[in-house]
Symmetry: C2
Subunit: 166 residues, 2 copies
Amino acid sequence: MVRGGGRLGGLSFTIIHVGKPKAPFVRSGIEHYEKKIKPLASLKFKTVREEPLRKGVTLKEVHRREAERLRKVRDDRTVRVVLDEKGDPLGSEALAALLEKWMIRGRSRLAFLVGGPSGLAPEIREEADLVLSLSPMTFSHELALLVLMEQLYRALAVLNGLPYPR
Amino acid sequence: MVRGGGRLGGLSFTIIHVGKPKAPFVRSGIEHYEKKIKPLASLKFKTVREEPLRKGVTLKEVHRREAERLRKVRDDRTVRVVLDEKGDPLGSEALAALLEKWMIRGRSRLAFLVGGPSGLAPEIREEADLVLSLSPMTFSHELALLVLMEQLYRALAVLNGLPYPR
């Protein structure tokens, strides 16, 4: 393992999500992990507006509108990781190893896309470098955001030789 | 699906964990799901004291002491589910179906055991009816508790014909 991300310029994470998290415990959990991640990597959030699934609007149309907004905030130089329960299951150590591999190859800017209550358009998944599954279980999108942040912190702890968070 | 757990007497969950959750966001997240679960099922918590992993005490000894405490609060009439990342992976729908199966067979009292920072003794896993993995990823034990509660609420929503939480 390469210890100390700093030597390689460090990792830069952008978490892009559809809709602002509403549950207060999720918002404070995000802050909790933000404080742990920030000394080890750059971390930014981008939120795109959620398209409500209302009468007369198909899910496909909701996805299309949200995908348009997601593409606007996306940066072409980043590695794109999309979260989806039907994606590739990775253990925490495997995720850390993958981040390290990307970092060594100079691909240290990563964007993590988390859908809203309506999920994500299939095209957004197809355009991803990795479709990552956090669990075979379905998590609410807000809980998925929290779990993602814990995993990013856990990966950074591994890559920086810090005690493994328990 | 059997709609309305009430007709079968309902499910009764006891969440047994080693050590009290410390992070404020976890404590408020637990309350968040508690409010959602309580109208649909009985829910209790039991905490056993965590044995600190200090110098001169082996992990095996920590496990042994914690296992003793866990056995004391355990109820012999309950189905025992132990959480462990190396356990059986189940999707959310599969978990709901399993709870329903147990309920139909009159096994409606379930205990969920969540280890502390030192994990659980192998014997505790061996004595379980089900060793459940929430994810191939490692979650901190506090986050695991939160994810478990979301999954219990999700299963109850399915079994009660409520809109699927997104």
